[in-house]
């Protein structure tokens, strides 16, 4: 009677304990990153474990929004993984190095050997208060991808000026081909074209715009370059440069449009090339150039910013091993596994960049690049920007209203 109840409860407890025991395993290092980097991280981790058989690294990958939720929760509870993916910049991202270092959540890596190799232009993105907290792996760039074959078939060269681009739009759309595939249903994609333009129209002459914005010494509404970029964005739309219904178009849609030759060009980041070729696009047809902004022969600036970066949790009980992994990652032969031909944040002669990105690399080398938006004062500015662009496209907001709202949000902490 009574004992059978105890038996029942005991049985459930045993089940719970067995479940626990089954799951437990000796873990030395934990690493978390966004799912976009799953392939290279997995490859590097496998190589590390091959060379260090006494160390086990377990990995977690999640889509960006879930990654941010889970990591912030773990950081707040003191259970963050030993090695974590961190965004560069001050406070523009919920997982940016500035925010985390400000709260003493990252280990100070200033004394690591790789710190001295970080180029001056990148340093501010990985530091907080003069100390270095993350190792930057690659540079994210935004540029104009094009299908060489389609352009040739329509007697077009690669667009080098703004007018070239408009002319290509006209000829291609008359031929029934989408000139620029644009996926504005996806928030992060909305900002790519304006970032590509403001790199030239704002940051080329005013590289500290974001810093001054955070200090209250600059405004969006007062920036002719921002207004001009948004006006051009809408002009491209008016002139039929984009696919029908950009606001309803997903990233998968534009990859497919590009891969099947229904679109000739797209303003995108390097990952787009991999996705398009995976979908069957011939790699030799794909090219990438800086987005053409000027008409007078001035060479455009590009958006370039540190993307994949790794730090060590301050709460990690395996500091030495975690630092060792990052030192391992920083070696050129390992970096080249991670990069797979993409542009490194810390250049090294032994690293080869894919010819696809050679013009982007040249712009960076010549100092024609800017980390647009990376130093915006809080994560809401970017959110307002991206959603505001969707609203510009569906006519529920004007450029003036958007710029004013951006200024209002930028003033909040």
């Amino acid at each position: 009677m009574k004992s059978s109840l105890l038996k029942a409860i005991g049985f459930l407890l045993v089940l719970l304990i067995v479940g626990t025991a089954v799951a437990q395993e000796r873990v030395t290092l934990r690493l978390a990153a966004i799912v976009n980097d799953q392939e290279p991280v997995t490859a590097v981790v496998a190589e590390y474990m091959r060379r260090n058989p006494h160390i086990t690294i377990t990995t977690t990958f999640a889509p960006i929004d879930q990654y941010q939720v889970v990591l912030r929760t773990q950081l707040a509870a003191g259970t963050a993984p030993d090695i974590l993916f961190v965004w560069a910049g001050a406070a523009g991202n919920p997982m940016s190095v500035g925010l985390l270092a400000e709260n003493n959540l990252l280990a100070d890596l200033s004394n690591e050997p790789w710190v001295r190799d970080i180029p001056a232009g990148v340093r501010s993105s990985v530091q907080h208060g003069g100390r270095t907290f993350i190792y930057p792996v690659n540079k994210l760039v935004i540029g104009l991808f094009y299908n060489r074959q389609i352009l040739q078939n329509h007697g077009l060269g690669v667009p080098r000026t703004w007018n070239d681009l408009l002319a290509a739009c006209e000829r291609l759309s008359r031929a029934g081909i989408t000139p620029l595939a644009q996926a504005n249903q996806v928030l992060w994609v909305t900002q790519l074209i304006p970032h590509a333009i403001t790199a030239s129209t704002v940051y080329a002459t005013d590289p500290d715009f974001d810093i001054r914005l955070a200090q209250g010494r600059a405004t969006f509404a007062g920036s002719a370059g921002y207004r001009d970029a948004l006006q051009r964005y809408l002009e491209l739309n008016r002139r039929g440069c984009f696919n029908r219904f950009p606001n309803a178009t997903s990233y998968e849609d534009i990859v497919r449009m590009m891969a099947t030759g229904r679109a000739a060009m797209a303003v995108q980041t390097p990952g787009f090339a991999a996705q398009a070729t995976r979908q069957g696009m011939a790699a030799e047809h794909l090219g990438m150039v800086p987005f053409p902004v000027h008409n007078d022969g001035t060479r455009p600036w590009i958006f370039a910013s540190v993307l994949s970066s790794f730090g060590v949790s301050a709460a990690s009980r395996n500091q030495a091993a975690a630092r060792d992994f990052i030192r391992f990652l920083a070696q050129p032969e390992i970096l080249s596994i991670y990069l797979g031909g993409r542009i490194p944040a810390v250049p090294h002669p032994a690293l080869t960049v894919s010819p696809l990105f050679s013009e982007m690399l040249a712009a960076i080398r010549e100092g024609r690049s800017a980390p647009v938006g990376v130093f915006w004062p809080n994560p809401r500015v970017q959110d307002v920007y991206m959603r505001g662009i969707q609203q510009l496209f569906d006519g529920s907001k004007t450029i003036d209203q958007l710029l004013a709202e951006l200024d209002r949000i930028a003033r909040e902490r």
Partner: protein, 275 residues
């Protein structure tokens, strides 16, 4: 009482089947896309699938490393459901049979759990699970699942129990049975239909849950199916045929469970409504 199968019956049958076909188009598309080689994706969305092409399924299975994850999901879901059914039905038995005010208020307190947004307790619970050193274990998710779905289980069980007359229990008690014997031998068998309902409704949500497993067991060998599938989806985002194949495989076990429990579900709802 049976009507004959006349013209109006045939008309109704035709209308219902037509409605079902239209309603089922999205699911059909999901299935047929998962059976297509990648390069055919751009073709007409309604073509007939070549069911012989299993490439996407094989590829998704190995790329997403689904075997271990499916085992974890099966362990976590089944133990959660066993505990949920045991604790939920016992608690509901007390709440349905006791007439005191306290029983009513405890019942109301449980119902509040249906309303509370889970985000409210997300962080405090995570901290607690951490202090109990349960992170990364199946137990963390089992505890979460049972606590989280007890309100729904108790809501359904209590309504059902109120419709069952007490005479059976009284007779058994007169015969000298203990309360636990009465519950396990008399009451619980009567609850079988509603138990089917609880299992399928809670089972669907537990099986499909993503954020909590990611938080508690992400990156460990206990990771569940949605955690693994999300990683896979993020990585192959533009390859819908692979993504759909992976997603369908992930849903299959729960579909099978539903087919097995189907009769119990509808009957369970029926009897549970007379509260």
């Amino acid at each position: 009482m049976r009507q004959r199968y006349g013209k109006s019956q045939w008309a109704l049958e035709a209308v219902m089947i037509l409605a079902a076909i239209i309603y089922f188009i999205p699911v059909y598309m999901l299935v047929q896309l998962s059976f297509r080689p990648g390069h055919e994706m751009a073709q007409s969305p309604l073509g007939l699938p070549s069911f012989s092409y299993l490439g996407n399924y094989l590829q998704a299975w190995s790329l997403a490393n689904m075997g271990q994850a499916m085992l974890n999901s099966a362990i976590i879901t089944s133990i959660s459901l066993v505990a949920l059914v045991a604790f939920g039905s016992m608690a509901a038995y007390v709440l349905a049979r006791r007439k005191q005010r306290l029983a009513y208020w405890v019942y109301i307190l449980f119902l509040a759990g249906i309303i509370l947004p889970f985000q409210l307790g997300l962080l405090p619970l995570y901290r607690l699970i951490n202090e109990l050193q349960l992170l990364g274990t199946h137990a963390s998710l089992i505890i979460y699942n049972v606590g989280h779905f007890l309100p729904l289980a108790i809501f359904l069980y209590t309504g059902f129990l109120r419709a069952i007359p007490r005479e059976y229990e009284e007779a058994a008690l007169v015969d000298g049975a203990s309360h636990l014997q009465v519950f396990t031998r008399v009451v619980f068998p009567l609850l079988r239909p509603i138990t089917g309902t609880v299992i399928i409704v809670a089972g669907v949500f537990i099986w499909n849950d993503f954020l909590t497993p990611l938080l508690y067991v992400g990156g460990t060998s206990s990771a569940t199916l949605p955690v693994v599938i999300y990683q896979f989806v993020g990585q192959y985002e533009a390859r819908w045929e692979l993504v759909f194949a992976g997603l369908i495989m992930g849903s299959l076990p729960i579909l099978v469970l539903y087919f097995l429990l189907q009769r119990h579900v509808i009957r369970g709802f029926a009897s549970g409504l007379k509260g």
